[in-house]
Symmetry: C2
Subunit: 105 residues, 2 copies
Amino acid sequence: MTTPSRWQDLDRLIHEPARLMIVTLLYAVEEADFLYLLHETGLTKGNLSTHLSKLEEAGYVRITKTFRGKIPRTLVALTPEGRQAFETYRQRLSRLIHPPAEGET
Amino acid sequence: MTTPSRWQDLDRLIHEPARLMIVTLLYAVEEADFLYLLHETGLTKGNLSTHLSKLEEAGYVRITKTFRGKIPRTLVALTPEGRQAFETYRQRLSRLIHPPAEGET
DNA sequence: ACATACTAGTTTGTATTACAGACTTGTTTG
DNA sequence: CAAACAAGTCTGTAATACAAACTAGTATGT
């Protein structure tokens, strides 16, 4: 096998540490607003915004823009797909870094 | 805390999937030659060589050039540091993707 | 009324870097 | 002498993370 099937590609979108933080946070809290993510991750606004856009394009998060009075409020939540993708990512990674046994085929 | 301590930076050197493959392999087998890694990872020679050099610069692997007859043979092994770094990486990642509980400190 | 600050972004520029492919050197084999 | 293999180095490209600047609308302070 020139392309060993056991190295299924990790989802690069989630693998990136900044987005891994975001997804992990969202997985835990289910819903978060922009400022919460901003403070929790320590990213800059622009950077956070870009990462959220990428996650949204991939269908991993849904971004809902609401208003608190007239002040914009951006809510972010994992979609079922995003949730699934994270779980898959987590499984593969676990299998990768916790090898089941040695000397397999 | 503007920079939450729980997001200790993952070791980018190990985090990169290609190198994660390499390090994982080395962690399992303890010693491997260039061709073995080449076939197992499916990387190109140049790419594998570059990644190995980076791991060597970081002190994570030791590269020993031997000869089988007159044919060069390159052996690669994790150093204790590399072993340690991988374990640390693994721990942090585990803690990241398997959150212990909610309602943290 | 005007300046400042905040929310939530978009755009721009830079610097890194992974990756493939070409090229190199030395050796063995036909 | 040609071809193929081992183990690289070098080069060029394309992607991309990141910070900082800028935008736009609202609220507040004086």
